[in-house]
């Protein structure tokens, strides 16, 4: 029984992890139909922000929860103004440009910090006992953060006037523009917000995985697949796809070892896309956000 709980917790953590790394990408994709291939590098930049800040004596919680999203959000803002805004409506070109951006970020970070960084931050919060099994307290904390983050995004979209305007732009940008909404500003804010969420995710994951200039490459494929499988609805899509793919990955990983866990995840996604070419939310939960 203890093993069961401990395992269930592990799988929930896997799901939360997937949702965390995908949410920033989902926001940008859902609102703007922009597939940001530099998403992995936003996560990486978040991680580096935390490492640099804590190495300079900043409190780790402040660095993870405030500094990382702030810094990466500002970087996202700059990227949107200098690059993305010229490419709206040219989906393929956006894909290519953000890919170039991702290589560029990896190059810059490698030039500054070298290929490996001395990161001496370990996950805080100690150990939680479940019967005779132990789990990391930090993993529990991450699960809670992901739930909070999802609720926060939901409430923002649902209750604030910014959320209303954003949803209007998402549904029909031209009509929104006719009603006097500056869609360009909404896009700018959305992109920057998506980047900030990615930065937060990267910062939170840094103590668990450490940081490397090319760690984004490890995340990007999974985040990508989760978002595409989920479809355009930000919350319902990310959540449903994370549960499905994270669950498959967790179970298969435990049964056969990680060798086939990730392959199973990718295969599930491909089959899913053949059955539902517009993602889960393209078929179900169409009215959701």
């Amino acid at each position: 029984m203890d093993l069961f709980f401990s395992l269930a917790l592990q799988i929930i953590y896997g799901v939360a992890n997937l949702a965390l790394i995908s949410l920033g990408l989902a926001i940008v994709f859902g609102m703007m139909r922009v597939i940001n291939l530099a998403h992995g590098e936003f996560l990486m930049l978040g991680g580096y922000t935390v490492v640099v800040a804590t190495n300079n004596g900043v409190n780790i919680w402040f660095a993870m929860l405030v500094l990382a999203p702030l810094v990466v959000g500002i970087i996202g803002l700059i990227v949107e103004r200098c690059l993305i805004q010229w490419l709206y409506g040219r989906m393929i070109d956006t894909l290519l440009a953000t890919w170039g951006l991702s290589l560029l970020f990896i190059g810059i970070i490698t030039s500054i910090f070298g290929a490996s960084t001395t990161t001496v931050i370990s996950p805080p919060l100690g150990v939680v006992k479940i019967g005779e099994y132990t789990s990391s307290g930090y993993e529990l904390f991450l699960i809670l953060v992901v739930i909070a983050l999802l609720i926060l995004v939901y409430l923002t979209l649902r209750l604030t006037s910014l959320g209303l305007v954003a949803r209007a732009t998402m549904q029909n940008a031209d009509m929104a523009a006719c009603l006097g909404i500056s869609t360009s500003r909404i896009y700018m804010l959305t992109f920057s917000l998506g980047a900030a969420v990615s930065g937060l995710a990267g910062g939170l994951l840094a103590p668990m995985t450490g940081v490397l200039p090319n760690i984004g490459v490890i995340y990007i494929a999974k985040a990508f697949i989760t978002v595409i499988s989920g479809g355009v609805a930000i919350l319902a899509g990310t959540t449903s796809a994370s549960i499905l793919l994270g669950g498959v990955n967790g179970v298969i990983s435990y049964v056969t070892g990680p060798t086939f866990g990730e392959v199973a995840l990718l295969f599930t996604a491909i089959i899913l896309l053949r059955l539902m070419p517009t993602g889960i939310t393209g078929r179900f939960f169409r009215k959701s956000q």
């Binding site: 592990q10 953590y13 490996s116 001395t118 001496v120 150990v127 103590p207 995985t209 450490g210």
Partner: protein, 418 residues
């Protein structure tokens, strides 16, 4: 493989080889500088290993040149960066052998890179040194492997840690040739010492989430974990293992932890108590080593990387080659090979090293060390260990005309019971 490298070499040897080889000996022989080429990754995923190796090689060559060069000739060092990509390895190896007409090439980190360039360098008759610890099994007249092999390190590490921690061993290893073969050696030595290798698990090099495995280790009742994990992503294992509080109850020993300076990447609490085995540690307590470390730090300044087996071996390999050139009186390939195989030795920072002539591997000291506060405390040392694993399958004295990698198909195919 039905077309073996040997038959390929034999068939091409006649024509293609003749030309470059002739040029090599006719022009380069006694004029101009001696050419020393180093091909090691300084960018891409493997640069945490490659960069210190290059630094150490540069230091060795600079020191030799300051001391007047070799045989009165200057040594010209050329360093290529293959950017962690196999195609550049082949390209630069061809360039070094056919273009630069190098007298010796020191190259390769992964076994894949070694296997990609070994045939090329054999084809162009260019002496080749491979200075990385690896799974053992290369049997090649032209190729000297100076890194430690499992029989030198694992054989010492397994009995020591089993006596200390218990007989049930959980093995985690990187999912590629090195990991698989090292895991097989670990299983063999665990069984030889009356223990039980309860589980072997392999991880692709890009895995960062070790949660499910850590749960499995908890439920398996293991006494200790033996890790042959490799690379930056796998450092997450040690972090997550410590975060789950496991490092206190089921301790970890490793054959790979520390060569990428991983012990500087995780905190003291996460790493303390881990036991590793290598043929060199920065903390070795000898005059030669203290001097070596001081010179390296002085040269590299504030951002000097920690010294590990890879760096020390690159340095010592350059020197043992130089000793052989001095003994042979020429930098030509065959006389230098003869000299290397006839007992040339070098007293380096890791102790005395010399070439074992049946395998062209290195007899070297081996040390066990425990990690404490991000540095290693040496707890055991073993003098001049032979590469017994490769000796089981390779005898270049009896059959010198060989150029094969015996463990490509695993240990069973090589006739070793595990």
């Amino acid at each position: 493989m039905s077309i073996s490298r040997r038959s390929f070499l034999r068939s091409t040897a006649g024509v293609t080889l003749a030309a470059p080889a002739l040029i090599n000996s006719a022009f380069a022989a006694s004029h101009g500088p001696i050419k020393f080429v180093s091909i090691l990754d300084q960018s891409g995923g493997l640069d945490i290993y490659g960069a210190p190796m290059v630094d150490a090689t540069r230091m060795a060559i600079d020191e030799m040149n300051e001391a007047g060069g070799l045989l009165g000739r200057e040594i010209e060092l050329k360093v290529y960066d293959p950017q962690s990509s196999i195609q550049f390895y082949t390209q630069f190896a061809t360039q070094a052998a056919a273009g630069d007409k190098a007298d010796v090439v020191h190259a390769g980190i992964t076994s894949a890179s070694r296997e990609a360039i070994r045939p090329t360098l054999a084809r162009y008759e260019t002496l080749y040194f491979y200075n990385t610890l690896y799974e053992g099994g290369v049997c090649d007249m032209n190729n000297f492997c100076t890194g430690s092999t499992p029989a030198q390190t694992v054989e010492k590490l397994v009995p020591y840690t089993m006596k200390k921690w218990g007989k049930k061993v959980y093995i985690v290893a990187a999912d590629y040739n090195y990991g698989h073969i090292t895991a097989q050696w670990v299983q063999k030595y665990v069984r030889d010492n009356g223990g039980d290798p309860i589980e072997v698990e392999f991880f692709p090099l890009d895995v960062t989430n070790f949660g499910p495995t850590i749960k499995k280790i908890q439920s398996s009742g293991a006494d200790m974990v033996m890790s042959a994990l490799v690379g930056g992503a796998h450092v997450s294992f040690y972090r997550q293992y410590a975060a789950a509080g496991m490092n206190k109850s089921v301790p970890v020993a490793s054959t790979t932890f520390g060569v990428g300076n991983e012990h500087k990447l995780i905190s003291a609490e996460e790493g303390d108590g881990m036991i590793c085995a290598y043929s060199y540690f920065e903390e070795i307590d000898s005059d030669a080593n203290r001097d070596f470390v001081a010179r390296f730090k002085a040269r590299m300044g504030a951002d000097a990387p920690a010294l590990n087996e890879l760096a020390a071996r690159s340095y010592e390999a350059a020197y043992i080659w130089a000793e052989a050139v001095k003994a042979a009186g020429t930098a030509d390939r065959m006389p230098v090979i003869e000299a290397l195989r006839s007992g040339v030795a070098y007293d380096g920072p890791s102790g005395r090293v010399d070439i074992e002539p049946k395998t062209n591997h290195l007899n070297q000291n081996v040390y066990l060390a425990e990690l404490k506060n991000q540095s290693f405390n040496i707890i055991e040392s073993y003098v001049s260990q032979p590469p017994t694993d490769t000796l089981m399958v390779c005898d270049l004295v009896a059959n010198p005309d060989q150029s094969v990698f015996k463990f490509e198909n695993g240990l069973k195919a090589a006739g070793i019971d595990i």
